[in-house]
Subunit: 122 residues, 2 copies
DNA sequence: GTAAGTACTATACTAATGTATAGCTCTATA
DNA sequence: TATAGAGCTATACATTAGTATAGTACTTAC
């Protein structure tokens, strides 16, 4: 199996780009270590800043703050300030942010298998 | 809609971690700007170095070389050297690398919608 | 009045990622 | 003999991502 020594320069360069470009568009929005964890945390309900800081393992305030701003700009996350007596700020997923659910689910399933694989070796 | 002002500190912190940790395991392997594009390019067939360098928009030799090494270490990509008369080096996806297909497909579909959304605004 | 919580921002730094440019060995081709 | 691939590696550098630590303004609880 796995023979080939390269097929006669096929013309799927276009096909290949058609697959790569949308994925790069997606990656531009959800890249980095923290954006998906933040989005995942919000799929479990609306959260305040410090709740998220507690729930997301090892994130610093600075990164949480920065990434929330990014996600808000890209309209994946909504920030709502309630002018209650100590001010309460609530973060929620927009429907657009929620549309990442299937991506996240596939990634999670793959990650579970990957971890099994790695632990199997150690 | 979208009322809430935060529900009474619910106890889904554990649930949340169970979702976040596998996704982070997955991200550890496929993070960065180039790994998925490289894998995608290989889903269209085995490739030589310079073919990939041509097919993947704007990648430099250095990054291609570095990322291929990473992917090889994580056993997503296989490197085969044929001792033909000019030496030919062929890269291919391992079955493990191919197991990312569904993740990539979801990401691609999301990316297509995302691009529509962005172009709709401009 | 002190501690602790909420929601951050500021500063300073390191490490990782990515870019630009060049060079190497080898071979086939003009 | 020079040029152009193939498959890289080396050097230098810029940019981005991420970490560590501290501090602010406000408020309620002890």
């Amino acid at each position: 199996m796995m023979e080939s020594i390269i097929p006669p320069t096929d013309h799927n360069v276009g096909k290949c780009m058609n697959a790569i470009l949308p994925v790069r568009d997606a990656l531009d929005v959800i890249n980095g270590k923290w954006k998906l964890p933040i989005i995942i945390s919000l799929t479990f309900g609306n959260k305040r800043f410090s709740e998220m800081a507690r729930e997301i393992p090892a994130i610093t305030d600075r990164m949480l703050s920065k990434e929330l701003r990014d996600l808000e700009m890209n309209e994946l996350v909504k920030r709502t300030v309630y002018d209650s007596v100590p001010v309460v700020v609530e973060y929620s997923l927009t429907p657009y942010g929620a549309s990442l659910k299937k991506v996240i689910e596939e990634l999670r399933m793959w990650g579970v298998e990957h971890r099994k694989r790695i632990l199997g070796k150690a």
